[in-house]
């Protein structure tokens, strides 16, 4: 039983859309509804957003929770500058980063995470947690996530554990010699 209650920060709607668009660029998914602007819809099945990326980012355990509004604002500033530089017209009804199409979002994130970019650390950290929402559901207990059909763990083919929540594999190997040993091997199995 955890002593410290889990805390999730609240962020404004515009920041939520912006970070959803960022998470969807890291691990893309399919649109949640026909007019979904944050999720670009360039992939089938759920991506980072459907996997709960915003829930993970907003959890204070990550350490980036308090910086989310600032990250959203920064990536929107970068999106504005990118649009100006590349002659893109932004749609004023949504945040600038959301207004970019998927390929432009990709190019911008590539720029922001290039070694030497002064803000690289921030964007790598944000990307890492977006990815973790998909590949390990780090905000949820793994066995419950699987039971509830977490799209990332399902896509990766993570199997169901035993009833006590532990994984055991009785069949684990081919069980036969598959190569010759290196000739310089000690009796206890080390390089000679």
């Amino acid at each position: 039983m955890r002593r410290i209650p889990e805390r999730k920060v609240d962020i404004a709607e515009a920041a939520t859309f912006t970070l959803e668009a960022y998470a969807d660029t890291i691990v893309p998914g399919e649109k949640r509804w026909p007019g979904d602007r944050a999720v670009a819809g360039v992939s089938t099945g759920g991506g980072a957003v459907a996997c709960g990326a915003l829930d993970l980012l907003r959890w204070d355990a990550t350490g980036i929770h308090d910086g989310l509004e600032d990250l959203a604002s920064r990536v929107n500033d970068h999106a504005r500058a990118y649009a100006e530089k590349t002659g893109r017209t932004l749609d004023g009804t949504v945040p600038p980063f959301v207004s970019l199409d998927y390929d432009d979002r990709v190019r911008l994130i590539e720029e922001l995470t290039t070694p030497g970019h002064p803000e690289k650390d921030f964007w790598v950290l944000l990307s890492l947690f977006c990815n973790m929402a998909f590949d390990s559901a780090a905000h949820l207990h793994t066995d419950e996530s699987i039971e509830n059909g977490h799209p990332g763990l399902a896509a990766m083919g993570i199997t169901v554990p035993d009833t006590d929540g532990l994984w055991r594999f009785r069949d684990f190997g081919y069980g036969r010699r598959l190569a010759d040993l290196h000739p310089d091997t000690t009796p206890s199995g080390s390089p000679a």
Partner: protein, 555 residues
């Protein structure tokens, strides 16, 4: 006030291989031993199969991002031995003759494979290290062996500290072994140390050392919250005649750097010559049809012939064909099959033949759908000891970001041409073996996100004969600071081309009689000669005559 200061004979900082082994022997020899460990003390049933932040998976290890290098280390009672994958090969003979960047022998003349073998023997006996058989190899290891064989190479099941009769092949070893199959220090040296009266204090993070007027050491620590390591609740001090530093190669030099203003000048090599053990990871995405057709492998009806990424027990098979002492330095390496769990392992994997970004985006998502058919190959090459620690952070060895696991450290690592030469050769070799006849598509992990990546940090406080390029003499004592010994991975002079736990442990065993001699010189009634914590004596009986020749006091 000094009357109320807590005192111990020997203060051990860290409870991994360097700390647990020295604590056991010194306590068994009669010294009052106190071990300060910055991480928590988890019991068996607290090792979870769960990727959620706050489970044992994130509580017991630490991921510190530096500039050009990130380090994964243990952070719990038992240290690296609780989170590692228990591969325990001895270092090949040529390693001890390496010259590295300094142009002369890196290791002390007195340490060679021959002289270290009796100490390796002690570890094999204590940790029940055994030669694994082909029947112990996981699907991933078997596949790697078959691919090596197909490419005209040899392959070896790895020596490991695993009790296979208890192993369930869950591949959750990094979260701690729930089944006591992995022979972590929590099932041998540490219980032995406790039985002999040593005291182990978890969540005590040492910040700095200073000298007492009498020439002993005063060690300052902070108490860390057991759940959110960003929180600290108080501090304390303990005095000791002897200090054994075993906080790990990413923390020991930081503590010494922070202590420098009080202890006096540190040897030049403290916080320099860091090695990532030349580590480099490649991800292969297998073509399951080719695996069946070319390698003739099968997992039974209805199963993919491989499709087993999550099944196993860390690395089980390695290729040693390039561990050839006649090859030039920086072109010798081992290639080891490794399981790397999600969370960190997937984001650094790159998409082969990507038309867009390689580490994120729609093509990356497509390869994640084939995750079960990934095979990770771990290259351990010879790097150039190019890591340097910058000024220490306010506390600990990093600025902590997440409640557990993630921090930003001050290690800087700019790979030299030599290091890249080794990495490139190893990468090309993995590609040649696994892409032969279309078996797989292979790409190395990207260094662009968190730099190079090591799970085996070494050499940040290394031993050697030259005072200008080594922090420790050949007894593992810190130059110019009598009574401080360093026994963790930081003492290993350079990359080993194989997993280093066996060598770190053997060097810790080798340091113990020297620490005993220093302790006796300071008036501590302690002797050397305990059997292995398992009770076996043959390792001890083999080293005692060697020590008598050296006429070490108390031996």
């Amino acid at each position: 006030m000094s009357d109320t200061t807590e005192k111990t004979d020997v203060l051990v900082i860290g409870s991994g291989f360097g700390g647990a082994i020295t604590a056991y022997h010194l306590a068994a020899g009669g010294a009052k031993v106190t071990v300060l460990e910055r991480g928590p003390w988890l019991k068996n049933d607290e090792f979870e199969h769960d990727y959620k932040l706050g489970s044992s998976y994130t509580r017991i290890f630490d991921f510190v991002v530096g500039d050009g290098m990130s380090v994964l280390g243990g952070n719990c009672v038992g240290g690296g031995s609780v989170v590692y994958f228990a591969a325990m090969p001895r270092a090949p003979r040529f390693v001890f003759d390496r010259h590295g960047g300094i142009g002369r022998r890196m290791w002390p003349k007195s340490v060679s494979r021959e002289t270290l073998d009796p100490w390796y023997d002690r570890i094999e006996e204590s940790l029940s290290v055994s030669k694994q058989d082909w029947s112990d190899a996981s699907y991933a290891g078997g596949l790697w062996a078959a691919a090596c064989n197909h490419a005209g190479r040899t392959a070896n099941p790895l020596a490991a500290a695993i009790d296979n009769s208890k192993c369930v092949n869950c591949n959750f070893m990094m979260a701690g072994c729930r089944f006591e199959a992995k022979q972590s220090l929590t099932v041998n040296y540490l219980p032995g140390a406790l039985a002999h009266g040593a005291e182990v204090r978890p969540l005590h993070e040492v910040q700095y050392l200073e000298r007492t007027p009498g020439g002993d050491y005063r060690v300052h620590y902070n108490i860390v919250d057991d759940e959110d390591y960003r929180l600290q609740s108080g501090s304390g001090v303990i005095e000791a005649k002897i200090v054994v530093m075993a906080a790990g190669a990413a923390a020991t030099p930081v503590i010494l750097q922070r202590s420098e203003t009080r202890l006096g000048t540190m040897p030049h090599a403290v916080g320099r010559y860091f090695s990532g053990n030349g580590e480099r990871l490649n991800t292969a995405i297998l073509n399951e049809d080719k695996v069946a057709e070319i390698l003739g492998l099968s997992r039974g009806d209805g199963q993919l012939p491989y499709g087993a990424n999550a099944i196993g027990k860390g690395p089980t098979v390695a290729s040693w064909d390039k561990l050839d002492g006649s090859l030039p330095e920086y072109s010798r390496y081992s290639l080891e099959q490794l399981y790397f769990p999600p969370g960190l392992g997937t984001i650094l994997a790159q998409v082969p033949d990507a038309s867009g970004p390689t580490w994120f985006g729609k093509e990356k998502k497509e390869i994640l759908k084939h995750w079960k058919s990934w095979l990770t190959i771990f290259c351990m090459t010879e790097d150039d000891n190019e890591g340097v620690f910058g000024p220490p952070p306010a506390t600990g060895n990093s600025h902590r970001i997440s409640q557990q696991m993630l921090g930003r450290g001050n290690l800087s690592y700019k790979p030299t041409e030599n290091t890249w030469h080794g990495w490139n050769q190893a990468d090309a070799d993995v590609k040649e073996i696994l892409e032969k006849d279309g078996l797989a598509k292979v790409m190395p992990w990207t260094n662009d996100l968190v730099g190079a990546y090591t799970v085996h940090p070494l050499a940040s406080c290394r031993m050697g004969d030259d005072p200008h390029t080594s922090a420790l003499d050949d007894t593992s004592e810190l130059r110019g600071h009598s009574g401080i010994f360093v026994t963790d991975g930081s003492a290993v002079p350079g990359a080993l081309t194989v997993n280093p736990a066996m060598t770190i442990a053997a060097l810790a065993e080798r340091a113990v009689p020297h620490i005993v001699a220093a302790a006796r010189a300071k008036g501590i009634a302690v002797t050397y000669g305990a059997p292995a914590p398992t009770g076996y004596k043959s390792g001890r009986d083999a080293v005692l005559p060697l020590l008598r020749k050296k006429e070490l006091a108390g031996v």
